[in-house]
Amino acid sequence: MASRRPRIALPGITAILVKELRGRMRGRRAFVSVTIYVLIVAGFAGMVGRILEESVRQNFGFSPEYQSASIGRGIFISLMYLQTLMIAVLAPASTAGTISGERERQTLDLLAVTPISSLAIVVGKLLSSLTWVFVLILASIPVAALVFVYGGVAPDDLLRGYALLFVTATAFGALGIFFSALVRRSGAATGLTFVSILVATVGLTFVWVFLRVSVPNNLDGPGLAANRPPEALLYLNPFVGQADVACGAEGGTGSWCSIIAEVTGTNPSFGQPVPVALGVAPDGGIGQACVSDGTTTKCTSAVAGPGLAAPDAIANDVVADPASLRDRYWPRSALTLLLVSLGFTVAAVQLITPARRWRPHLPGPRRRPRAKDSA
C-alpha cells in the first residue's frame, strides 16, 4: 500500500470537472435555468412581501412601514425556506444520475481503466453537479439582499442562511451520488435519494414529535429540557436549521425562536430552560405571548408596541451576551450535514472502486454475478 504511487487526484478532479461543466454550461441551458430560478425566487419574495404588508395593514391597522423589520425578516425566512425546498429537489436531481448514468451509458469502465482515482471521479462529479446548484444559489443572493431595504435582517444573518443552504445542497447532493453509485439505474437512484431525504427530514422530525409526545412530560417541573427527545434527530432537517437562523435574525425571541426553544428546551436568548408551562414566554421586548399545550408551543404577536422598532438592538444584545445560545443549533445541524456528505461521498468512492484493493481480502458475501461480466 505504502509503496503505491498515489493515483492522479487533482488533475483527475479537474478532468471530470471540466468535462461535466462543459456539458452542463453548454448552450442556453445554464442561462435559462439560472433565469428561471431567480425569477421564481424573486417572484416569491415579491408575493411574500406583499402578503406581509397587507397582513400588517389589516391586522394592526397601520402602515406597513412601521413593521418594516418584521416584514423583512418574513421575506428572508420565506426565501430561505423556498430555496431549501428547491435545493432539496435540485441537488439530488443533479447528482443522482451522474454515476449510474455513466453505467447506463457504459462509460464508467472507460474511466475506471485510466489512472484517475475513484475519489477523483466521485468528487469531480459531486463538485460539478454542486457547482451548478451553487450557481443557482449565488444568483439568488442579489434578490435576497433586497430584504436589507426592509431591515430586520443583518448581513451576517444572510450569510448564515446561505451557509446552511450550501451545506444542505452538499449533503443532499452527496446522498444522490451515493445512491447513484449504489444502484445501476438513474431512475431508481433518484427515487431512493428522494425517499431518503424525506425520511431524514420529515421522517425523523415525525419521530421526534412522536417521542416528544410519548416522553412523560412533567409540566410542573422547572426544567423541561431533560424530558426532550434528542435534538440531534432534527439535525438532518435543514428547515429546522433555517428556523434557528431565523431565530438569530429575530434576536432571540419570536415565533422562530419558539420553535428552536421547543426543540432544544432552552431559550436562545437566555440560555435557560423555557418555562413553556407557564404559558407565556419571557418577554424579550417584542411582546410575544406563547401558549403551550404540552407538545407544541404557539406564539402569537399579542402585543404590538413601540419595542418592535428596535430589533437590531436586541440582536446586538444577544450577540454580545456570552451566555447566548445564538449559533448553537444551526452550526451543529450544518456540521452533521457535512459529516453525512463526507460519509456518503466516501461510501460512493468505495462503491465504484473497480477492484476494491484497499480492503483486506476478507471472505465475505460476493456480489451477485452479472450477465455482462461473465460473458
Partner: protein
C-alpha cells in the same frame, strides 16, 4: 521477443459460475494476440481482469512487468482498453472527448493538443474534430474509442470484440488500423468470436472455452499439433446408389467419425487419424474398387481448428462461426 502480458492460473468465480477457470497466457511484445472462443467462454472476463476492472479470484497477471494486484496504476498507464460495449458521452465534441481522457492520464495541455491531432489523423476522424460524439456513425465511434485508448501511448492494447456491429467496410478499416498500430510497436490483445476476422490479423491465438485455454500459440503451431483429426474431401466417380454405398463403405472404416455427401457430390469425411492413416484409408478405398478422382484434406483454418478444439456440436458451431 519478450513476454509483455503474462497470466498464471487466472480464476474468476461468481457465486456458482466459474467464468475463468485457470487461464495461462504468454503474450510477446509486438504480437496481435487473438482470444477466440464462443460467447460465455470467459474472454471478456479475462480481458476485464487484465484491464484492472475485475479482481481475479485466484491467480496472477503481469503487464509490462507490473503486477496487476500490486501496481494497478502502473498497469493502467501502459494499457489501453476498449470494452466490447462502450458508450459515448452526450454533449461532447470529438476533440473534447479525447481531451478529457488526455486529462485523465495527466497529460499536459501542449501534449494533449498534439496527441489529439495525431490520433484524429490516425483514426481518420480529422474532419470530425468539432462534431458531437453521439452524432458519429458506429464505425466512427469505434475508431474514436480506439483513439481514446491510445492517448497515453500505451504499450498494450486490449480490444474486446472490436469488430462487432461493424459493417464489412468498417471492419477492413479497423484491420488496417490495427496493423498500423502493430507496426508502431504496440502489442494488441483482441478477443472475438468471429474467427475469419482474427485469422487474417493475429500472429498468435488462444482458443478458450468454458474458462479454459484449450490451445494457444501461433496458428501454424496449433495446426501442426492438432494434425490428428481433419476433414477429408473425396470425389468418388459415382452417382446415386453407388455414391451412397461408397459413403457407407467410408463410414465403416476405422477412424472415420462421419461421412456425408455434400450437395456437389463430394464426400466429406470426419477423420480422426493422422496423415499416415489418411494415406492408408485412400489405399484401402482404391483397392476396394472405389473410383476416386480426388482425395484431399480440406484447407485447415482457424474455424476448423476451433471446432476441433472445442468439440462443439453442429448448431453451436454454426453460431460460433456465424
Amino acid at each position: 521477443m519478450t513476454t509483455i502480458v503474462r497470466t498464471e492460473g487466472l480464476v474468476k468465480r461468481y457465486d456458482r459460475t466459474l467464468a475463468v477457470a485457470g487461464v495461462d497466457l504468454d503474450i510477446e511484445a509486438g504480437e496481435i494476440f487473438g482470444l477466440v472462443g464462443p460467447n460465455g467462454a470467459g474472454k471478456t472476463t479475462t480481458l476485464r481482469i487484465l484491464a484492472t476492472l475485475l479482481e481475479p479470484t485466484a491467480g496472477e497477471a503481469e503487464i509490462a512487468g507490473w503486477s496487476l494486484a500490486r501496481n494497478p496504476n502502473e498497469v493502467r498507464r501502459v494499457l489501453g482498453f476498449m470494452p466490447d460495449v462502450f458508450g459515448v458521452y452526450d454533449d461532447m465534441r470529438v476533440w473534447e472527448y479525447l481531451d478529457f481522457f488526455g486529462r485523465c492520464y495527466g497529460l499536459p495541455a501542449a501534449t494533449r493538443k498534439r496527441v489529439i491531432g495525431d490520433l484524429l489523423d490516425l483514426v481518420d476522424l480529422g474532419d470530425k474534430r468539432d462534431a458531437y460524439v453521439q452524432g458519429l456513425s458506429r464505425g466512427m465511434q469505434q475508431r474514436l474509442c480506439l483513439a481514446h485508448a491510445l492517448v497515453h501511448d500505451p504499450k498494450v492494447l486490449l480490444l474486446d470484440e472490436p469488430a462487432s456491429g461493424l459493417d464489412p467496410r468498417a471492419r477492413v478499416e479497423l484491420r488496417e488500423l490495427l496493423r498500423e498500430l502493430r507496426s508502431l510497436g504496440k502489442t494488441i490483445v483482441i478477443s472475438s468470436h468471429i474467427l475469419p476476422e482474427l485469422e487474417e490479423l493475429c500472429t498468435s491465438v488462444a482458443i478458450v472455452d468454458r474458462g479454459r485455454v484449450l490451445a494457444s500459440g501461433r496458428i501454424s503451431d496449433i495446426e501442426r499439433r492438432l494434425r490428428v483429426g481433419a476433414v477429408l474431401q473425396a470425389r468418388v466417380l459415382a452417382e446415386g446408389e453407388a455414391l451412397e454405398s461408397a459413403r457407407a463403405w467410408f463410414s465403416g472404416q476405422p477412424d472415420v467419425a462421419s461421412a456425408a455427401i455434400l450437395p456437389d457430390g463430394m464426400l466429406e469425411l470426419g477423420f480422426r487419424g493422422d496423415e499416415f492413416g489418411a494415406s492408408a484409408l485412400l489405399r484401402n478405398a482404391v483397392s476396394s474398387g472405389l473410383a476416386i478422382a480426388s482425395f484431399s484434406r480440406a484447407a485447415s483454418d482457424l474455424e476448423e481448428l476451433f471446432l476441433q478444439v472445442t468439440g462443439l456440436d453442429e448448431p453451436a458451431a454454426a453460431a460460433v462461426t456465424a
